[in-house]
């Protein structure tokens, strides 16, 4: 099921990474929320995006996830997501 999600994902020592750069709406949201809704997913999760996903924030808050933009290279918006509930 996770493999059906759009975008790329991999695991590093700091947790799951999801790369949704280049995807058209609403695929980034589908990819991110699809990963977060996996039963064993408790974060932290790093998202690599090409724009700030303003429509994602209400959905993250509804699911108890906190987001923070972290500095990165030009052309990328990187978000750190942590579960708060």
């Amino acid at each position: 099921m996770v493999d059906d999600l759009p975008g790329k994902h991999w695991t590093e020592p700091d947790g799951l990474h999801i790369d949704v750069r280049g995807l058209a709406p609403p695929e980034p949201m589908v990819a991110i929320l699809g990963q977060l809704e996996q039963p064993d997913q408790t974060g932290p999760v790093t998202v690599h995006h090409d724009r700030e996903p303003i429509y994602l924030y209400p959905e993250l808050a509804q699911r108890g996830w906190h987001h923070q933009i972290i500095p990165t290279e030009p052309g990328e918006v990187r978000l750190s997501l942590t579960l708060t509930k």
């Binding site: 589908v30 699809g34 724009r51």
Partner: protein
């Protein structure tokens, strides 16, 4: 500005001040109430309505201009920059468009009830000016679009249809006095077809490509089907226009077939989005949205039956009611109850420094009351039209009015939460 800050700035350009889209939504909620009230007043004329001035024409325009167009314009100003990745070039014309259209609608509608040429002309010009400002702003945004070509193409189609709606609408108003149109009723039909299936229909079809998968959390829809229903819709509208111009019933029948195929492709595409949905519960908004798709097909079937010469009791009025209230109003009410809390959530931070929860911004009771009233009103009025029972239409309109009040209450509650949380 730091790099994250720069991106934040870009996002904020795409996110308009809350007051901008919300003023359109509040006005739409108020015109929704007025539409049912005016329908109640003119209930005796609904079943046999085939055009002409009076309360039914007024109720029709309260719905199409007051509810549909204002909702579409408010949503487009906010959602189009997200889809095209381009901010609105300026926000003051968007505000100005509201302050021209909004007072123009009651003036126009008063003229339709009263039959006064001055009110019709002043209202028509004001509404047309506001719509033209919207068209120019939207065209400018679509011209700069760097993504979502399928949404942009639907947008261009909708704008072309809107220009046709404005020109024919103004011609119809002048024709009340001057009588220069050879076929006033035919032009009125074309005006309605372009408004509902062209302008509003293409906006709905285009935004559905993004909004429905976003709401149900499904994969992006295959664009080739989107291009197919765009092509079919445009072909159907062109055939309809040619059929009206030539007075050729066969061409109009072909337009009906093409229109039904366009609706079928769209509904099939939406059904596929639902089938691959990752959300288990879609809520009451999707009861409205799913029902709207059924009513779209039903409306197109009735329309096709009419042009094919079938004897449907009060078929013209039934067709209009099923398409306008069953399809378009159901769909927009379903979408509005999703995007109003969504937009509100993005504009405020709660005491915790995080956005308020969507569930906290969505009062369930008024929406439940609206849902029940909306479908009851639809059923009662439809029965009233088919069986020619004015009392059923009157009761239906009152029930619809109650539902519209409940919906306006929902909008008011969200705005109160928005302003109190922002404080």
């Amino acid at each position: 500005m730091s790099m994250p800050g720069a991106f934040l700035g870009g996002a904020k350009n795409r996110l308009l001040p809350a007051s901008l889209p919300f003023r359109f939504f509040v006005a739409a909620a108020i015109f929704h109430i007025l539409a049912w009230l005016v329908l109640f007043a003119g209930a005796a004329d609904l079943s046999g309505f085939v055009g002409g001035s009076g309360a039914i024409l007024a109720a029709l325009h309260l719905l199409t201009l007051g509810v549909f167009a204002l909702t579409a314009i408010g949503a487009s100003y906010q959602l189009l920059p997200i889809a095209t990745r381009q901010p609105l070039s300026r926000t003051w014309p968007a505000r100005a468009s509201f302050w021209v259209i909004m007072p123009g609608i009651p003036v126009l509608v008063f003229g339709m009830i009263d039959g006064g040429a001055m009110a019709l002309t002043v209202g028509g010009v004001l509404v047309s000016l506001g719509l033209l400002v919207f068209a120019v702003l939207t065209a400018d945004n679509l011209r700069r679009a760097t993504s979502m070509p399928i949404v942009a193409a639907h947008g261009w189609g909708a704008l072309l249809a809107l220009l046709g709606v404005i020109v024919i609408g103004l011609a119809l108003i002048l024709d009340f006095d001057l009588g220069f149109l050879g076929d006033h009723q035919g032009m009125a039909l074309l005006h309605m077809g372009l408004a509902v299936f062209g302008f509003m229909g293409l906006l709905v079809l285009g935004f559905s490509q993004v909004l429905i998968p976003m709401f149900v959390l499904s994969r992006a829809l295959p664009p080739r089907y989107g291009w197919t229903h765009l092509g079919l819709t445009i072909a159907g509208l062109l055939a309809f226009g040619i059929g009206i111009a030539l007075g050729d019933q066969r061409v109009i029948t072909v337009a009906g077939v093409i229109g039904f195929l366009a609706g079928g492709v769209y509904v099939w595409l939406m059904r596929n989005a639902l089938k691959s949905s990752m959300r288990k519960r879609l809520g009451d908004s999707f009861v409205l949205i799913k029902a709207s798709w059924v009513f779209l097909l039903l409306g197109l079937l009735i329309g096709f039956g009419l042009v094919a010469g079938m004897d449907i009791p009060n078929g013209a009025a039934l067709f209009g009611f099923v398409v306008l209230v069953g399809w378009m109003l159901s769909f927009l009410m379903g979408i509005l109850q999703r995007i109003i809390p969504f937009l509100a959530s993005m504009h405020v931070e709660g005491k915790s420094g995080r956005p308020p929860l969507l569930s906290d911004l969505t009062p369930a009771m008024p929406l439940k009351i609206h849902l029940i009233c909306h479908f009851s009103a639809f059923a009662l009025c439809s029965i009233g039209i088919v069986l020619d029972i004015d009392l059923a239409v009157q009761i239906g309109a009152l029930v619809g009015f109650a539902g519209a009040v409940a919906f306006a209450t929902f909008v008011a509650i969200v705005i109160r939460k928005l302003t109190s949380t922002a404080d």
